[in-house]
Symmetry: C2
Subunit: 199 residues, 2 copies
């Protein structure tokens, strides 16, 4: 991914190391850098009326908050949910380099991909049954019906807009009904899900 960036830009990259639970930026502040997550995990969140936190997105790798490139201020909070390593690019330089080597095309494709992801997410959240959301997630985020989860089930529940209790229960019910297979892998908190019903 980064190899598609103009060299001028790559040379201005600064590496940022952050521990788990440290903030990266907060809503309302002016973006100075565009971040690329190399390793770890960053969550984009927002606070509701009563202070409840809403998880907009969990990112394990790639650019964060791509829409902040031309934004006056961030529209959500970002914090590291795991110890993370990031590359930071000065926003100003980034904007200036967009015209270089047709780099804008790369960026437009990135934004388009994000829009598609968000449309999927929206469609998923519009489903009001827990099992429908799970299956929809397998079909859209998974590869060939198989999804490797990053992090805990509890974190996944937040992304799906479900309480973790409901997610646990529904997963077990689907498993019992042979609609999916749950494979817990060794030390890592990863699950592998496999659909058993046709598309």
């Amino acid at each position: 991914m980064l190899d598609q960036l103009p060299n001028t830009l790559l040379q201005q990259r600064k590496t940022v190391q952050l521990e788990a639970n440290q903030p990266l930026f907060i809503q309302g502040t002016k973006p100075k850098f565009l971040y690329f997550l190399e390793e770890g995990e960053v969550q984009l969140t927002r606070c509701g009326q009563q202070g409840e936190t809403c998880t907009l997105q969990r990112i394990q790798q790639g650019f964060l908050a791509e829409a902040s490139l031309f934004a006056e201020h961030y529209h959500c909070d970002a914090h590291c949910s795991k110890k993370s390593r990031l590359s930071a690019f000065p926003i100003k330089a980034f904007r200036q380099q967009l015209g270089q080597d047709g780099f804008y095309e790369v960026w437009i494709q990135l934004l388009s991909k994000e829009i598609k992801r968000l449309r999927n997410q929206g469609q998923r959240l519009a489903l009001n049954s827990a099992s429908d959301r799970i299956i929809h997630c397998l079909q859209t985020e998974g590869e060939n019906g198989v999804l490797r989860l990053q992090g805990s089930i509890k974190e996944w529940a937040a992304e799906l807009g479900l309480s973790h209790e409901t997610l646990y229960r529904t997963l077990h019910r689907l498993q019992k009904q042979k609609q999916l297979e749950i494979v817990k892998q060794k030390t890592a908190t990863q699950l592998k899900l496999t659909m058993h019903c046709p598309t």
Copy 2:
């Protein structure tokens, strides 16, 4: 909006007139044109597993499916929900003109705006109470807490991911509780909502 397009592109514009309920494009087909809705209404939808239709977006004015510019195929269906007039631009020419006069910057800003809208929509759908979704919509889509609805309440319900019965009931409850004001305007099926509680 259209005045920001390069002249070369404007000259290739074709006008399209469609009646209500006519399809504009369907999921899976290859995009040949990029559409700008001048007048009327277009809905982007998707079909769920059991054939239920999910309304992803209702558009009254502006570009449709901006992400299709570099897409191999459409990722949702589009149809006119009202009699509409559109401008169609050949995709190929559009892509070629992006480099002209820094037009790509206009396009990137458009995509960024769409991403922000989708994030709002996602956050809204993650709220599980009808009144929270309504209020969130007023705060994000409205101007200064005032929102002019386009179309019927029933259509709005689909966008909010609620049954229309629940939306009607909750609107009346909020009105009775003085949390919002509903003003039905003459012939047009428009409502004006005004928040009465602080931000």
